[in-house]
């Protein structure tokens, strides 16, 4: 049994610029900040587009699909009650090159691979919907 959902978590504070990211999963859709002037996605969110400088940046829905850009299997029990091992990963979202989000992989730790297609699966804690990712059985993105 190596399903990888550690119980103890310190949740993110819902701050003005980034609360949308943490609550986006309430309707099952992941959202990332996008510039409506030039179309660039950026994460973490900023008050202006880092590509064109426009302040017309706003959350926009994404497919929730991507691939594992890298991962690590954490074995250290940093806190009492922390369930190990678990996979901490960085996912490159399908929408744009080098558009990265950090996550845990919801799969046996042995399954983690670089390049693995994954899809978002939200996990609600209080008023936060953490975007976890699981293997994309449909084969995912190219």
């Amino acid at each position: 049994m190596s399903e990888t959902i550690p119980p103890a978590r310190k949740l993110p504070k819902l701050e003005p610029g980034s609360a949308f990211f943490w609550t986006s999963g309430a309707d099952g859709v992941l959202r990332i900040q996008r510039c409506s002037s030039c179309g660039t996605w950026q994460h973490p969110p900023f008050p202006r587009c880092s590509s064109c400088g426009s302040e017309a940046v706003a959350p926009a829905p994404v497919s929730g699909k991507g691939r594992i850009a890298s991962y690590t299997i954490n074995h250290e029990r940093w806190l009492p009650g922390l369930q190990v091992p678990f996979v901490f990963a960085v996912v490159e979202l399908a929408e744009q090159s080098e558009l990265y989000v950090f996550t845990n992989l919801l799969a046996p730790v042995e399954a983690a691979r670089l390049g693995m297609p994954v899809t978002v699966a939200f996990e609600q804690h209080e008023d936060v919907w953490l975007p976890m990712f699981r293997p994309d059985e449909t084969g995912g993105v190219a």
Binding site: K10, P12, P44, T72, H75, E76, F88, V90, V101, F102
Partner: protein
């Protein structure tokens, strides 16, 4: 030709306090020990010092990472500075040195003492919890909010992502990475101030426990109590001092990527560190092959590979093979590396141990770890912000 400000300055002394896990002395006492020793080592009096700076200053963080401010150190030492700076932002932990160079070049000071003090071993005695989880706040904010909710409770988890991606892209392996720890320990045996000096074999490394794949306990640096101080002087004020001046041949710096929580590249390099490396070499006629030794930042072992490549000491993807077997990075090898034991064996001074060791080598104080006739040394510093220097003696 442009006159770069670092060419007007040099390092005229360096010293360390005792280093403990923990030390019985307070951070302020250790700071005074290191600064007074450095001032004496230069052949200066306290009254000659007109500037004082440190990384990162003092904060209420509580983990011992920022225990002393420059103004309180000045008061304890009896220094009446014309110029002072605490810098937590910017170009790695080297920012106070770069700023001291600029202040000296601008005529604001002649002799600046720059120190780095840590009390992380003492703080660890009080709490063994991850500092990211401690404190009264129930929720995490700022840049840590992007990783801590996924139980990435130590920087090792983030840098393990780099190690894994590097391993896969370049076909590196754990025996190669283990040579960083083994080589450091081999050198630390000759460093009386190193916290770990017992010999370490590659088998010992491979038997050490995995923290976050592919990184092990022995890939991590170690928290300590202690202080390191250097004196940076105007070259005209350095001529008649005790030590041959160490010219600051060039400096390079950059921020980006990790610094703002925005990640660039494919997790096999620190892109901004390459920019720091380009700046470094653009300000000198020296070449990588001219370096007699290298003190390369090793908060985690994987930093060393990424920094060696960022500085052009080896081609991209080749650091793993360069260190393999340990011969080329040994004291009598092509590029003696982390000759004092680095942070893995000598403790986490946030790069100031590396700078101190560069002075040890260039002043030929290394004893059993001395690189024969060392005249040049390249130093790099940082995992989130990036700084590098080349020191040279005549």
């Amino acid at each position: 030709m442009t006159l770069h400000p670092e060419k007007l300055t040099c390092i005229t002394s360096a010293a360390q306090s005792e280093v403990g896990r923990p030390s019985s002395r307070t951070a302020l006492q250790l700071t005074a020990d290191a600064c007074l020793a450095a001032i004496a080592d230069a052949g200066l009096e306290v009254s000659d010092i007109d500037g004082i700076a440190c990384y990162p200053g003092k904060s209420a963080e509580g983990g011992g990472i920022a225990p002393v401010s420059p103004s309180e150190a000045a008061a304890v030492l009896g220094i009446d500075p014309n110029w002072t700076l605490a810098s937590a932002e910017g170009f790695s932990h080297m920012a106070p040195i770069f700023n001291a160079i600029t202040a000296i070049a601008c005529g604001l000071a002649r002799h600046v003492v720059v120190f780095r003090s840590v009390a992380q071993a003492t703080a660890r005695m009080a709490s063994r919890s991850s500092t990211l989880m401690s404190g009264s706040r129930n929720r995490v904010e700022g840049n840590n909010a992007w990783t801590v909710p996924f139980n990435a409770l130590s920087p090792i988890n983030t840098f393990a992502l780099y190690a894994q991606a590097y391993f896969e892209k370049y076909g590196a392996n754990e025996e190669q990475l283990g040579m960083i720890a083994v080589n450091n320990r081999r050198n630390a045996a000759h460093n009386e101030n190193a916290v770990y000096r017992k010999p370490l074999s590659l088998d010992d490394y491979l038997a050490s426990r995995v923290i976050s794949t592919p990184l092990r306990l022995l890939d991590c640096d170690s928290h300590i109590d202690g202080s390191t101080a250097i004196v940076v002087s105007h070259r005209d004020a350095a001529k008649d001092l005790k030590n041959p001046p160490l010219h600051i041949e060039s400096m390079g710096m950059a921020v980006g990527g990790l610094w703002v929580g925005r990640y660039e590249g494919d997790f096999t390099s620190m892109p901004a560190a390459h920019k720091a490396g380009e700046m470094l070499w653009s300000r000198t006629d020296l070449k990588p092959a001219d370096m007699d030794c290298a003190q390369i930042y090793d908060g985690f072992s994987i930093h060393v590979w990424m920094w060696m490549e960022a500085l052009g000491l080896v081609p991209r993807g080749e650091a793993c093979r360069f260190v393999e077997g340990g011969k080329r990075i040994a004291l009598d090898g092509e590029l003696p590396l982390n000759t004092g034991g680095g942070q893995l064996s000598a403790g986490r001074f946030h790069g100031y141990g590396h700078i101190h060791e560069a002075t040890v080598q260039l002043w030929h104080r290394g004893g059993g770890r001395q690189v024969e006739d060392a005249k040049t040394c390249i130093i790099s510093n940082g995992g989130y912000g990036y700084g590098a220097m080349i020191l040279r003696r005549d």
